[in-house]
Amino acid sequence: MELGGLGWIVIVNLVIWTGLFLYLLRLGKRVKELEKER
Amino acid sequence: MWRLASNWAAEALAVFAKDWRCEFRTRYALNTLALFAFTTLVVVSASLGPLGTSAARGASVLPVLLWLILLFAGAAGLPRSFVHEEETHTATALRLAATPSALFCGKLAYGLSLVWALELLVAPLFLAMVSLAVRSPGLFVLVLAAGGFGLAAGSTLIAAIIAQAQGRSTLFAVLAFPVLLPLLILVVELTRNAVAGAPAGMALHQLLLYDGTVTIFGLMLFPVVWNP
């Protein structure tokens, strides 16, 4: 892939963002489960 | 007020005297520091080879090596002042008896005298072994003194922190080096200036500012580190 091209930037950032969001969702689910347990 | 201050000074002095008396009986810190510094000194100047004699390149590289030797020798000997108290369980008695800020000052004075003694040994030997000529010796001595102070102050505070943790010997380097790095950069820059005979410039003010900041921070926060 060409460096400096749009594709490169899109891919890197989408990886970061989806990663962070998936992490956030998983965390939220775990906290909710644990809080329900109490 | 006056009595309070003189009591405080007497306490700090007592800690300093106690540390040196223990040191003279065992010679642990003096031996390790001196041997460590001397060995690295020989290794460095022997493996350096011709670079040491090339004045142009030497003037920029050699100050780095000098301060790295001092830094690592300090890291080998300085943390002991607090680690030993915790390891031999004398820290409990000291916690109940000493005023924290006076204790910090006593320990700092002890560390400082060790570092200055070390510099007195290492610096002339280093200059002779790598045949480095210093154009402004006054600045060179000043940098050694102020840099040594910063090294002792930072190390004393970090030593107090790691003495209460596990894995002390490696942890000291991990915690101390990021804190000492600005100091290291400044003293290397100033030592280069001293070697080249250039004026000290802003770096000297910044070095003194660093010394003052770390000392005041240590005096203020050491009680929190030392006591629960």
């Binding site: 060409e2 460096l3 400096g4 091209g5 749009l6 490169w8 930037i9 899109v10 890197v12 950032n13 989408l14 970061i16 963002w17 962070l20 969001f21 992490y23 956030l24 969702l25 965390l27 939220g28 775990r30 906290v31 644990l34 809080e35 109490r38 | 505070l157 922190i161 790691i162 209460q164 943790a165 596990q166 894995g167 942890l171 991990v174 915690l175 080096f177 990021p178 804190v179 790095l181 600005p182 950069i185 400044l186 820059e189 802003m202 770096a203 910044q206 500012l209 660093y210 900041t213 770390v214 921070f217 926060l221 929190v224 580190v225 629960p228």
Partner: protein, 219 residues
Amino acid sequence: MKTLLPWLLWVWMAVVIWAAFFYSPLAAGFIGQSSRVLFFHVPLAWTAFVGFLAAAVWSARYLFFGRRLRDDRAAAVAVEVGFVFCVLATVTGALWARIMWGAYWNWDPRQTSIILVLIFYGAYLSLRGAVEDGEKRARLAAVYALLGVVVTPFFFFIVPRITYSLHPDSVINSRGEVDMESRMLQVLLAAFAGNAALFFWIHNLQCRLRALAEGKARP
């Protein structure tokens, strides 16, 4: 409402990403599309910075206002999450540097500073790992976090002197003005707001998770 908020943040960030590519113009003097990295790289770095600052504030609060363990927990989580953000900022920065300067790493002042910050907070985390007792760990780590805030400003004077910079002007330039195309600035600030929200969201969840885990351990 509460279940809606994460989706709102989702949409917000999606809009920001769209705007970064289609709304904002390209900045002058950058190779290809590379100036668009700005909208991802800069907010990450800012957010990490805010996180570390917040950690120092929580540490000070722990030490001097009540010694509550939840302040310590908040400081620890802020450093951990801030560390991740900081790593991401470093990586995006390095990728951009490869495009612009031809190498991933070239000891630019910014790169030097960010690696020093990473080392410092790495040391903070290893200190936490080396103390078992909760009260002691909180106390020692808080002092170290504050020491960082006192010592790191020195790099601000020193680092530019020992390295030379190719880094573009900060958003607020050396004359203290904001010098940026207004559409770019809008997207940048929106991205920062999204990042900060994301940071504090993760922070909040992690703190609750840890409080629950600690409560569970107690019989």
